[in-house]
Amino acid sequence: MTDAQTGAATTSVAAPVASPPSGTPADAARAGTSPSDTVPTDALLVATDLVKSYGPVKAVQGVTFHCMPGEVLALVGENGAGKSTVAKMLAGAVTPTSGAITVSGAPLASGSVRQSRQSGVRCAFQELALVPDWTVAENLSLPDGAPLRGFSQKKAVRAARELLDALHLPQIDPRAAVGSLSLADRQLVEIARALAGAPTLLILDEASSALTPPGVAWLFERIRELTAQGGSVIYVSHRLGEIAEIADRGTVLRDGRVAGEFVRGGWTDDQLISMMAGREAERFFPAPPPRTSDAVALSVENLRAEGLRSVSLEVGAGEILGVGGLQGHGQAELLRALFGASPAQADSWTVGGRRIRRTTPVRSVARGLGYVPEDRKKEGLALEMSVGENLLAPWFRWWQLGGRPRLSKERGWISGILSVLSVRTRGPLELAGSLSGGNQQKLVFGRWMNRDRTVILLHDPTRGIDVRAKQELYGAIVDLAEQGVGILWFSTEVEELVHVCHRVVVLYQGRVADELTGDRLTPDAVVGAAVTGSSAAIRGGAVA
């Protein structure tokens, strides 16, 4: 499985899997035109004129589409286009303001997850719907049934084991508390729960966002198994490569409306992106800027922490060092350890040329580090505080006056950041919680910009954000490097690493497995290094 895109501009996507199921004409992408209103009578799912308003906010304003049995229907669109809202309405987690949904011809009771599940509709949610204190077994076994039904942990574990084995997930321990799993594993459990009992319609809302290529491969195998049995899948993703590989057909949403449709093989990245954005746009990875100094921004030798066995690396000033590897091989731990968010030791450790022994977040910030954490909602932003205060948070000094951004001298800096990153907000006093996820992500990144940072540690900053926002972030990252900031960038998207980084280190089981530069820095090499020693597992379909 290779990713469909190459780095440069407009290459068309070769459909990797043969024989599209429907004989639709190749040029079905009709940007701006109304979607087909002829719904086949044998459609599994028909959504008619779905509308969802949150107060004055119209999340979805009249979406009509259908899904055939055995079909994989992609739902694409920019951040905030309404994909998750549509998915949640189908899954029963959100009650539509108006509109109708039928499954196999029967109307779906709206606003009840249980009813939807009984109609065979299952959803793996974008914001994972797992209970952290429950074991995997409990999470997999408790969704249905009457409250006073008996429950036995032992039986649940056994059932969960069987399910996980059937789904080729032997590495997940059903007795582990979900909260202790990595994000990728949690996503796998979420998918496993949705897959249990062979759903007729499976909704995957950015279910692959934390998965690395083998994980995605595993997911695609499950999808193919399901569709082979006649089940349908609605697949939401920002990764166009995945769409190209798995989707038979697609619906493009823009601003809560259907902006167009496409069929397998009948589209190019550029067309799709234009359709999503509503204008011409192209996919573009900036090249890393030439390095002007060989100063070392950060170096560490034999860094050890929980989940990290021994890592040595060096980030130069102005260098973009990518971190690749399969999820759960220590990337998150590496960034957290380097920032001092979790305890760690190293034989030798320098930041900006100065030796240190250990660190805490407070000291790291003082030494010129910045960190964009994994979970923007829980770790990145104070959602009930204003945009301005969130940007300023690391820079509060107790004695400094003018805490509210409006009055502070920092106003220029704040509006600069908001405009550089094109943050869609009503202003620095808007609450961060009312921004869309992508815009929230920009804030977490933006707070470190133009603040004399030595090194910025990025944990998958483009996870789940739309194409345009991604490109804005790439630009900002490259710009920072140009200013001499060292960047340590972990990404689940191999393409990013390959195109925007000077160098990439690949982690495997808590160690650096390989370091790739120049000609060796290709997507295949990154993936190859990531799975060294576990390629058998890849072929077997399991995820390490």
Partner: protein, 335 residues
């Protein structure tokens, strides 16, 4: 396919269901604390184990243990109940007043219904109104307290000596009867929490309400049921208190607010919800409830009990934290 079937041990208490669960629920430290406390107590006052003293001690701690269990249920669903003392007072006086005219079983049912109603009142506002439990129960603490003084303006009511005998007296030959009632309630509650889906739902709702809802469970109903259940537990405590003091008292629940929270804290439950154990809570209540007694027999000014209770809570809850840190530091230094 590589069937790594986990070894499901036959010694259930050694794996998932037993020690591991207690550890996860934070109950190891309070159990240990109780054992130490008990040993010290018996060393100082061996006659604790006499029938008379055991009964005295049991009558003192059983209402506290029951109210603490009520508080635990609320804490499990991620709340805290400030009105728990007022619910206790109200159930206590309603029961005592009903005892004047009604047959005992009817009076008991009305007493339990009072606790249930109070719990459901809180639960409706918390689960379906979406308001924070601490604020709702702060309000209902004022309301229920006021109501209980309307029902009975001064201690009184119609508790009989027979009722005392059946709840707190010498009904059984060796065992204090109040302990038996506590055990019955605790076992039923344990079955409910550990052996039914509802019980797991209660734990789940406290752990993450949104997830539970997105998984298709009725999270609000679960929360409501938890509040109702808590109210019933509190009213059982109130009825036993009425029995052991042979009176209904509109202020009888007041002292139980802080002590129930203290007991749940000592039990190692997580106040963020989703974690907590029944046995830990009961033993924590016993420890806290008997400190005053221990000081009496040790001949120490009873005012020390406030200081000692506070220190026990901080120590028992704090030691594992310090322990984990030290252990990590040691491990790190070795590697």
């Amino acid at each position: 396919m590589s069937a790594v079937t986990p070894p499901v041990s036959r010694f259930g208490f050694l794996n998932g269901t037993g020690i591991t669960r207690l550890r996860r629920e934070g109950a190891i430290a309070p159990i240990g604390a109780f054992v130490i406390f008990f040993v010290v107590y018996v060393a100082i006052n061996p006659s604790l184990l006499t029938r008379f003293q055991l009964q005295t001690a049991a009558n003192l701690v059983v209402p506290l243990a029951l109210v603490a269990l009520g508080q635990l249920i609320i804490v499990l669903v991620g709340g805290i109940d400030i009105s728990i003392g007022a619910i206790m007072s109200l159930s206590n006086v309603v029961f005592a007043v009903q005892m004047e005219t009604m047959p005992v079983p009817v009076a008991i049912l009305i007493g339990l219904a009072t606790g249930l109603a109070c719990g459901l009142f809180n639960g409706l506002l918390v689960a379906y109104g979406g308001f924070p439990a601490i604020a709702v129960t702060l309000a209902s603490a004022f309301i229920f307290g006021s109501l209980s003084r309307e029902v009975l303006d001064a201690p009184g009511g119609g508790i009989t000596k027979e009722f005392y005998l059946a709840t707190s007296g010498e009904l059984l030959p060796f065992l204090p009867i109040s302990l038996v009632w506590l055990a019955v309630v605790a076992v039923l509650l344990w079955l409910l929490l550990q052996r039914t889906a509802l019980g797991r739902h209660i734990y789940g709702v406290g752990s993450n309400m949104e997830s539970v809802r997105a998984a298709g469970l009725n999270a609000r109903l679960t929360k409501l049921i938890a509040f109702g259940l808590s109210g019933v537990l509190v009213s059982i405590g109130a009825i036993l208190l009425a029995g052991s003091t042979v009176t209904g008292d509109p202020r009888s629940g007041d002292p139980y607010l802080l002590s129930s929270i203290a007991a749940v804290a000592l039990s190692g439950a997580a106040f963020t919800g989703g974690r907590g154990s029944i046995i830990g809570t009961i033993l924590a209540a016993c420890t806290l409830g008997l400190i005053g007694n221990l000081l009496f027999f040790a001949g120490i000014n009873s005012y020390w009990q406030y200081v000692i209770s506070a220190l026990i809570i901080v120590a028992v809850v704090g030691i594992p934290v310090v322990w984990r840190r030290v252990a990590f530091a040691v491990k790190g230094a070795r590697s």
